[in-house]
Symmetry: C2
Subunit: 404 residues, 2 copies
Amino acid sequence: MVRVNDNYLKLPGSYLFSTIGKKVREYKAQHPEADIISLGIGDVTQPIAPAVISALHTAVDEMARAESFRGYAPDLGYDFLREAIAENDYRARGCEISADEIFVSDGAKCDCGNIQEIFSADCRIAVCDPVYPVYVDSNVMAGRTGDYDAAAGRFRYVIYLPCTAENGFSPDLPSEVPDLIYLCFPNNPTGAVISKARLQEWVDYAKRNGAVILYDAAYEAYISEPDIPHSIYECDGARDCAIEFRSFSKTAGFTGLRLGFTVIPKDLEADGVSLWSLWARRHGTKYNGAPYIIQRAGEAVYSDAGRQQIRSQIAYYMDNAHYIYNGLKEAGYEVSGGINAPYIWLRTPDGLTSWEFFDRLLTRANVVGTPGSGFGPGGEHYFRLSAFGSHENTAEAVKRIKKM
Amino acid sequence: MVRVNDNYLKLPGSYLFSTIGKKVREYKAQHPEADIISLGIGDVTQPIAPAVISALHTAVDEMARAESFRGYAPDLGYDFLREAIAENDYRARGCEISADEIFVSDGAKCDCGNIQEIFSADCRIAVCDPVYPVYVDSNVMAGRTGDYDAAAGRFRYVIYLPCTAENGFSPDLPSEVPDLIYLCFPNNPTGAVISKARLQEWVDYAKRNGAVILYDAAYEAYISEPDIPHSIYECDGARDCAIEFRSFSKTAGFTGLRLGFTVIPKDLEADGVSLWSLWARRHGTKYNGAPYIIQRAGEAVYSDAGRQQIRSQIAYYMDNAHYIYNGLKEAGYEVSGGINAPYIWLRTPDGLTSWEFFDRLLTRANVVGTPGSGFGPGGEHYFRLSAFGSHENTAEAVKRIKKM
């Protein structure tokens, strides 16, 4: 008699963005005339850069001719892309990461969700609170978290690292020692960054305790200030204790094209076993490579034209970020983020809960954002706005919030 | 102190096709003049059909303009593709499968590898012997198989279903009752098919015993004879006990484009839990959808022009299959498959082991195939040749084998 993985049943309710979608649809049904602006889900809106479009067309034409057709891609990605990543994202910043330490995939979400598989089921995980839900949920499914305590909004065996206004939304070292530490900077949802000195403390802590840091740098392209690390491998010793995730989704608007990568240094071991070889085995067994044409699109992101076009796309979104940040500040809100990240994190006014503020924003301003509590109990009384809208929509949304 | 998932360490040796690749590279290094023909790995060689290329270009252009740009795809796939699949692959064959029971993904390999996650870790699995390695390896990684017995070439807790010349390479019902039953027809590697009556027996058996059948129909487009089921949902009661995997890889040459889908009927339950909802949760948490442009390419496969072009592509490969089948038969080999599948399964001559025949074929004919024993101990003394080469290479390979 077949039985299900009952760890799945420990997951509370539905996925955050499904709940938001449902609330918005219901409101729309009741107010069909409402002109709703979404600064909610972190999806981009600008079209794909011309250099990338051109690379896509060229690659599609290659697939049309027998002599240039490509079937199965190499499991770990095409060398042309892995070389471009190693050169531009790592060597150019002084990090010694080689092309064969890069695993190309269809996105950082999949990799962040799947990476836990190569670790023992009894490893303790630590996550920031608030946090991107995928880190926790994928570990719940694997049975690593224990039961959910609905009153506390927390899973029993997870070590939560509070990220608060007091610590600048950058977590302190925990007293209870975890085996796996998820860190994401620039942070989703708070938009906070971590200084190099503080990240070095985490690397030293992980090395001292035999822990592995799972570092999500999906938003690194939004860093505008100097001295903020773009990669964990800028820290001494990170090759011995850290795995890094990167994405083309927010860097180059690839949310609909699907491309990302994971870096695992060859010398990174646990129990004397190479984590590189375990992940390679997983890729070989359960994955079949990102599409050739999408990998060519990724390569074009690193061309001279591509880099320039993508820089101006990021600047476009960061104009929105500054506009929201300044507008809300003027309106008296307590805001953070938005300087090195496309997210603005604001404290809800009048002691409202995150969901109460969601409803107020939806009904009074017809603006959709993301309740902070959806990212964990530490996000309660906070709210996330994203900078990925158009200038026009963003300006209109801020105007409405100010009037509210 | 971090620990690894030591189930990974139970996996024997390297992945079959890596070993083949290594042997071929070594031979090439020693014999740089050798003109090696590969009828080994099941990768297609014909370019993408014109109707699909045209759809890809159109979709790429949509991504270039803000008004038609698409970001994140719906988790479970775009409706346009799910509707086309439901209509053409199911309703047209009298199967009642609706669009919302179809989960679009980046390939059947990933889905076949990941599906086991939604089941309990103590479920017993049954697999054919020989078998596509992904079914077994993904369960080894999840700790469902126990240790590997190198002498037997088998995992301790797996129920193996012998597929032999005696049973026409279509497995008999096992005495020991499994919870999860992997079946693949048309079969990889044997090229065998299952009759509708026999598949119905399996469905009845699964229902009687509360088991779930995981049915891999990746090669259904190659079925040429009538009365062979294309889908398990052609059997009565399959909606209550079966999940089906399909792929565009072999149907339409998408090995480098990456597109497939999984069907889970809404009424399919285990422990009173909907398997549809568990898989939807997995998709939502660990996956982010297939690229928009690739989903448009998939839709074009079902257009009138697309269907016609793809039919002639399949006919091209099946010409190869018949050529290999007849050629080897004339040369005195015992062959099967090749009629409803792009694989020819042959018995090695002179009592050679599969790997001995591999070496003989490589060194005497400069032809690469796949040793049957790589698919499990039941494949020993067998060998797989694939029909995915060009006509010219296939004819030359057969000529050389005949002369050998």
